[in-house]
């Protein structure tokens, strides 16, 4: 874990129960679904089939999956430029997501947003966002709405270690504490902001920033799906019960480059070693770890899990076929879609 620059072992957030077998299988399926989506996007991007940049979530799947397992469509989530995983885990449709990234009319945003901005408001997915840190205040605002509604909804903000240096973090920690808003701050500490190692630009322990507001803050192994699941479960429960905001720092690692054009852009530039990446890939893959635990503790057989993986791959292939067959975006849409039609 040295690459995260945080050194010591994350403390366990909670000793409570893990997911039930059914929940565990859903968690596994979600992680695999994200992985297959991202691998396909990686390949299609390399093949030049996607118009814009894609920022992939490979290796970080346990975070989105473990947190969103506790959410329903009524709950809100804000995401980042690296947002496919959150979209998928929060229940977004991978066909319309793929169509969006392919810039098609059938895209969830009609091709107007693209990879960095997949959103499905009907599912509470308030959007991937191209502005680092922007989700913090949006999630807090949605949490304010949830509190006003008073019906136990919660709002989750996913953001990176890099984003945690935006002052918006402190501002939203402050206001959500004061107003006891049902918001869960999930910092995905994947070791890097673009090509800069976290330790170079992030002082102290990120979770301490929340503790300064006496906000409950857990530091978890973000590659351990169960660990994330537990910490998130506790935070979501607290928020639903009116107990206010919580903070989770999930320590993980970005396996892919910052974005898929990275090696082209970087040329000979280097900011981490191939061994470091290989180490994480081999020893700390969140899906492999979870899979072997499921098998070893008897939750599922290898064959069962293979079947899930195969099904998931079919769904991804189908989604890509759907996207590929879609219509090009309406080029004139922007001129009519900027403003919502007013009543009367």
């Amino acid at each position: 874990m040295t690459a995260t620059g945080l050194g010591d072992n994350p403390q366990r957030s909670h000793a409570g129960d893990g997911p039930s077998p059914a929940e565990a299988l859903r968690l596994f399926e979600t992680m695999v679904l994200i992985r297959r989506v991202e691998e396909r996007l990686r390949d299609d991007s390399a093949a030049g089939k996607l118009p814009g940049a894609v920022h992939l979530y490979i290796g970080e799947e346990a975070v989105a999956a473990g947190v969103c397992a506790h959410l329903s469509d009524r709950d809100y989530a804000t995401s980042t430029h690296r947002g496919h995983g959150h979209f998928v885990a929060k229940g977004g449709d991978i066909r319309t997501m793929m169509a969006e990234i392919w810039a098609k009319r059938e895209g969830i945003c009609q091709g107007m947003g693209g990879s960095m901005h997949v959103a499905d408001i009907s599912k509470g997915i308030l959007g991937a966002n191209g502005i680092v840190g922007a989700g913090l205040s949006i999630a807090t605002g949605a949490a304010f709405g949830a509190r006003l509604d008073g019906d136990g909804k919660v709002s989750v903000c996913f953001f990176g270690d890099g984003a945690s240096n935006q002052g918006a973090l402190m501002e939203t920690l402050n206001i959500s504490t004061l107003w006891q808003l049902p918001v869960i701050f999930v910092c995905e500490n994947n070791g890097f902001s673009e090509f800069t190692p976290s330790a170079e630009v992030t002082a102290g322990r990120i979770a301490d920033r929340a503790r300064a507001f006496s906000m409950p803050a857990a530091e978890v192994d973000g590659n351990d799906a169960t660990d994330v699941w537990r910490a998130a479960g506790e935070a979501v429960r607290r928020a639903r019960e009116g107990g206010g905001p919580s903070f989770i720092e999930a320590r993980t690692y970005r396996i892919q480059g910052h974005f898929e054009a990275e090696s082209f852009v970087l040329g000979t530039g280097r900011y981490r070693s191939d061994e470091e990446i290989a180490g994480w890939r081999q020893d700390n893959d969140p899906i492999a770890r979870f899979r072997s635990r499921l098998v070893s503790d008897g939750t599922a057989s290898a064959a069962q899990l293979d079947r899930i993986e195969a099904e998931v791959l079919d769904r991804v292939n189908e989604a890509v076929a759907y996207a590929e067959a879609g219509q090009p975006a309406d080029p004139e849409l922007a001129e009519t879609l900027m403003f919502a039609p007013e009543e009367s």
Partner: protein, 333 residues
Amino acid sequence: MARTRLIQAIHDAVVEEMARDPKVIVYGEDVELSIVGDLRGVHEQFGHDRIRNTPICETTLTGMAVGLASAGYHVVVQMMFSNFLYTGMDAIGNQMSKLRLMTGGQMELPITIIATIGGGSANAAQHSDTSYPMLMNLGGVNVAVPATPADAKGLTKTAIRSKNPCFLLEPNGRGGELGEVPDGEYLVPFGKAAVRREGDAATVVAIGRMLKPALAAAAALDAEGLRVEVIDPRTLVPFDEDCVLSSVAKTGHLVVVDEARECCSAASQIAAVVAEKGFSLLKGPIRRVTTPNVAIPYAPNAEAHVIPGEARIAAAVRELLGRTENHRQGVPA
């Protein structure tokens, strides 16, 4: 009809809309007692869930509005001075003006942001900007600039009922001015200018705080035999091009008075629209009377020098029409 102060008109509009729609939520720094004064006392009627003092953190105030609006509320944010829009600019420039398109029309963002614009009170450069050009260029937000209590009320109500982000920019230092406000439900539509004075010698478009000196200039010019038409656009986005173009069709001359700095001002925008769509109507150059490209100075004499006033407006009209000041002296007052 009742004579009402401008800040009271905004207050009444907000209170009426809060009463009409429980989804209207108001917040802002120190908004309960409120230095600007437009929302004073509203919390006593509606309580802390509906209107609330926030910490000082403009980045989050504008950003939260996006989230709260996405959650189905109509958000009213009181930002005090429009200079603080710079501080909260991220969510304005990158989020609320863009997200509806970016989500393919999924998001509705009923957000009203209230702030004061303009100088004239020796508040110096960091509290005197007229910042609508920056907002107008974003493409995704409406901009209202009421100059009278009636419009302040009617435009505020229209903004709060809108499904889109709207900026309601109050004229700084004019909050205490009185004007007739129609009784009962009173809405002013966006995109409809008001002809404040009719005339045929020249068209003067005067924005927000500039209406008052423009009307004073028009009165002075009247005494010189020049009848100018004074148009108050009331909203800059959407903008009532037809009203201005048909006035120019009548007068052949256009002066635009704008407290914003000259470069990329609303005045430049209006001039460009007329130079493009109304060129054949023009009998002479389009004159802009604006604040020069400077920070607003503190000293009242220096402030008065840079902000357009009656004398500069009248001089611009005279110059356009080939009249000299001497000429003026020849006319009995």
